[in-house]
Amino acid sequence: MIQLLRIELYKIFKRPRTYISFAIVTAISFIIQLAMISDGKSFIAFALQGVSEQFDIHGNVLNGYLIAYIILQSLLMQIPLLVALVAGDSLAGEAGMGTLRLLLSKPVSRMQLVLVKFMGSFIYTLLLIIWLAIIALFLSLLLFGQGDMINLKSDAFILLLKDDIMWRYAAAFAFAMLAMTTIASMSILLSAFADNSIGPIMTTMGIVVVLTILSNLELPLFSLVKPYLFTTHMIGWKGFFDDPVPYAAIGKSAFVLVAYTLIFLTATILYFNRKDIKS
């Protein structure tokens, strides 16, 4: 199994396509950081115009923590699509290349193969999130310095002291990792059904976009299903920037995401074990 995983990782990281995601994350982060360097002060002034009359705000508001938060808000909707690039390709890409029959005519069980594809996608996602942390958080801290972080919500103004922030980012990244693992497992399931990778990648993107819209629509019609959509829970990481932190809600979201991941993974194994490999 470890040998199989090593081979899987070797294949993933030998392929140029893998690095597109890292390049996109880097590009978006750089664009936001550049924009903030050139026009950050007016952005902050605009963002705080509603509260500046009631509060006297001093210090480095435009700091690395705030920039990282802005980048995360912008990126964490796009990252599922980047995860799908690798996870959606995992089984369908092998089928498309014809290498699935090569792999399965070796002494490798189908369940092992699915698990290794899942672990490979997990590790890729983990590295992508770590890269995001480096580029979005640490580079922003380097460029903009530290400071207390203002979290402006529609109904609240939250001030987080600079010594109380780093652990929140660590927890938020860990939660984001969980959410992206759910996306990866769904993508692998879709990948098991297909014989080329375009289908599962596009379908993953479609599902994420549609369900995210449903999760965000404030209509009574959808309020019944919203708690059960994984996209509703994917934004649970934001809870770590509330004060107090809503641990119960975050825990519930984490539970839903884990449940979805297990369901997707089990469904993939059950389906793939019976699939005729005709490609």
Partner: protein, 310 residues
């Protein structure tokens, strides 16, 4: 001789189409077993069932007496296969592909073995190139290298000459014969190219529309008396009339105007030639058609199939 692979009653349908229908056969150790059938006859589906890629609706596969489904992972250690095309990871080198497949075989394969296999398939010196830069012939060779990297007893080669030029086909034939004679491999080779199978196989199985038509040793199946001999002569009606009245008429088959076609043992060709010349015929060429081809065409003819399906 010991049976290395046995298929019993293999049956597989895709929706309403029955791709393989109650197919049984056995391959003995050391044989080169030709698996023949027209395109769409069910060869690839059968081969995929043999290695567990397709799950049969009915029937069983035994490898060395063990039912495949009960010992898949263990049994696959002793099987090397190219299924349909020798697809590999094009963005990796031949060496990387071989190394990965060696690692997947669950045997402790040393680098020396990789060098050895590259030598056997004639790819030494090209192993560091990306597979995407290989010619079709090189890919087929690399496919065989991957199939045999873990030194299996049984090689399953599905259409190994597909897409090869004449030189490539000849090289592949030599390689298959060498694997059988020099390395003691049992080989199942499928093809729709009769001539290829005829050149290498010791036994064969012919299927048509998923059903077995015939199997056995090539020497038993192909009777020399069924060989077709085509004689091209200058147009001469008198010769045709003499032929019809002679003992040679027993061998005569329908043919076009400028040729005479005989179904007979090739040992009779010199006598026939002498007789034709004595009758004043201007013999332009004499060619023996492969008895294999006539056997195959005869057996896969639909009318014949109705009467001969086993």
């Amino acid at each position: 001789m010991e049976i290395i692979l046995e298929a019993v009653g293999l049956t597989k349908s895709f929706k309403k189409h029955k791709a393989v229908d109650d197919l049984s056969f056995a391959i003995k150790r050391g044989e080169v077993y030709g698996f023949l059938g027209q395109n769409g006859a069910g060869k690839s589906t059968t081969i995929r069932m043999l290695v567990g890629l397709i799950i049969p609706d009915k029937g069983k596969v035994f490898i060395n007496g063990t039912e495949f489904i009960n010992g898949r992972r263990h049994l696959l250690k002793n099987i090397g296969a190219i299924i349909e095309r020798p697809d590999m990871y094009g963005y990796l080198s031949g060496w990387d592909n071989l190394k990965m497949m060696a690692a997947l075989s669950n045997k402790n394969i040393k680098q020396q073995r990789i060098h050895e296999v590259l030598e056997i398939v004639g790819l030494k010196g090209r192993e560091k190139d990306r597979v995407s830069a290989y010619s079709q012939g090189m890919k087929q060779r690399m496919g065989i290298a991957i199939a045999m990297i873990h030194n299996p007893d049984l090689l399953i080669l599905d259409e190994p000459t597909n897409g090869l030029d004449p030189q490539g086909i000849s090289d592949m034939r030599a390689l298959i014969l060498s694997l059988s004679r020099d390395h003691g491999k049992t080989i199942l080779i499928s093809s729709h190219l009769l001539y290829e199978i005829e050149q290498v196989a010791t036994s064969m199985l012919i299927i048509h529309k998923g059903k077995k038509l015939s199997d056995g040793r090539v020497s038993d199946l192909l009777h020399p008396d069924d060989t077709l001999t085509e004689v091209a002569i200058a147009p001469n009606e008198a010769i045709k009339a003499s032929l019809a009245a002679s003992a040679w008429s027993a061998y005569l088959q329908p043919a076009n105007d400028n040729a005479l076609l005989f179904k007979m043992n090739p040992s009779l060709i010199p006598s026939l030639n002498k007789w034709l010349v004595a009758q004043g015929a201007e013999v332009r060429s004499i060619a023996s058609k492969h008895s294999f081809e006539s056997y195959f065409l005869n057996i896969t003819n639909d009318t014949a199939v109705k009467n001969r399906t086993l």
